[in-house]
Amino acid sequence: MGTLAHIGRYFILLKATFTRPERFKIYLNRTLEEMDLLGIKSLGIVALLSFFMGAVITIQTKTNIDSPLIQAWVVGFATRQSTILEFSPTIIALILAGKVGSNIAAEIGSMRVNEQIDALDIMGVNSAGYLILPKVIATVLINPFLVIVSMFLSIFGGYLVGMATGIVSSVDYLQGIQSGFIPYHVVYALIKTVVFAFVIATVSAYQGYYTKGGTREVGISSTKAVVYSDVVILIANYALTQMLLI
């Protein structure tokens, strides 16, 4: 099957996904469950990763700009900018593509090979809508929350490591993270987050939904879900940055 055929089938699946739910309340309950499974249960890894990445950004920034011509508060400024503009929205999205994307593809793929999706279709349930729509809504709603938490923890991680190692003073770091703050950058980051969340949920669901074969193919679908989500996220990242920042 060629790339164009896959793209066409992806959009046909999206059309089936965004049709009117049979029972709104059941979809709402499923969305809340997915928010817990795909979002809240990812909080731990997001927090851990954000904290240490913030710490590393601070140390590396200080190492690279260790010059008497550059003021000490620039470390805080650079940490904040790197975190808000790129690290939190993009790197966290790539990490979530691995965790959440593989989960979605494996779950839906297993349902496909075990004929559970056929069972839904035969009952007259719109299987694409029932299985995929709650996951899309859940990730689109919960990922911005995860990214905001990530932003705070990353900047806080940089602050703590700065204090602990003495490479930047508290006053300088706090001055840096307040300098030249542009609120639109947070909006830009959140727009990216929503787009990436949509990509993760739909690309992974597509890979799972059209799984053919057995458990080996479920594994292959899961891997493809992560790889293709990452590729689309990186392309979308470039496109959105050019559209929204220049």
Binding site: E22, R23, I26, S110, M111, N114, E115, Q116, D118, A119, D121, I122, M123, G124, V125
Partner: protein, 258 residues
């Protein structure tokens, strides 16, 4: 009644079904038999609309399924109950939730009535005390019974059963066959059973269709089976020593009568 007319289906270059014409009668157990890979399950999946045939049509009470609007197809599907070969129970739901699922999606009754109805269906398949367990905690036979309970939850007019005896011990197979027979009589369903289990055919088969090489090679009743001169069907039926002995026994009985 379900009628199949000139139905052909291929996957890529592989022709799986060729010009199938068949009738499946209401209130009877219609069995599709044939070797593994002969196209039985594909035929059933074409009938329920999971596969789109390249040619031909499927008529539900005289109305072409493939010509129906999406809403009409959904309505037909709400009247279909299907037991899959692997039961296809939803892993994340308990036994009770599995049986309640179609009721919750389409039923108009309060939740307490849905639970009551689901319990009645579980009672009907003799699996009352397992309602809080998950499918993974059940044996294969129990999973089949839960699958049947889910299939009959919406009082189906058409009951599809794919390989009901596969992976089951002979005793459980007989129980499942008896259940299918009872449910067909009780609900007056058009029941279509896909099987290659000749014991099941001899126990409950009424209208039997033999698929060979993707073509409908023979149709008839259970009694006509043993006297068929269709070579493929004879090879299929009498592959096992039990059936060979049964044939000898039946022939002995009929010659004795004379």
């Amino acid at each position: 009644m379900i009628e199949v007319k000139h139905l052909s289906k291929r996957f890529g270059k592989v022709q799986v079904l060729t010009d199938i014409n068949a009738k499946f009668y209401k209130g009877r157990i219609n069995q599709i038999i044939g070797k593994s890979g002969s196209g039985k399950s594909v035929l059933a999946k074409c009938i329920v609309g999971l596969h789109q045939p390249e040619e031909g049509e499927v008529l539900y009470d005289g109305k072409s399924f493939h010509a129906m609007e999406v809403d009409e197809k959904r309505d037909i599907r709400k009247r279909i109950g299907m037991l899959f070969q692997g039961s296809a129970l939803f892993d994340s739901l308990t036994v009770l939730q599995n049986v309640m699922f179609p009721l919750q999606m389409f039923g108009e009754m309060p939740k307490s009535e849905m639970a009551e109805r689901a319990h009645t269906c579980l009672q009907r398949v003799n699996i009352m005390d397992k309602d809080k367990l998950f499918p993974a905690e059940l044996s294969g036979g129990m999973q089949k019974r839960v699958g049947i309970a889910r299939a009959i939850a919406m009082n189906p007019e058409y009951l599809f059963v794919d390989e009901p005896n596969s992976g089951l011990d002979p005793q459980t197979s007989i129980l499942i066959d008896d259940l299918i027979k009872e449910l067909t009589e009780e609900f007056n369903t058009t029941t279509i059973v896909i099987t290659h289990d000749m014991n099941s055919v001899m126990e409950i088969g009424e209208n039997i269709l033999f698929i060979s090489g993707g073509r409908l090679a023979w149709t008839g009743s259970r009694d006509e089976l043993l006297d068929t001169d269709n070579q493929d069907l004879n090879e299929f039926i009498f592959a096992g020593s039990l059936m060979r002995n049964a044939k000898e026994f039946m022939r002995g009985k009929s010659s004795g009568k004379r």
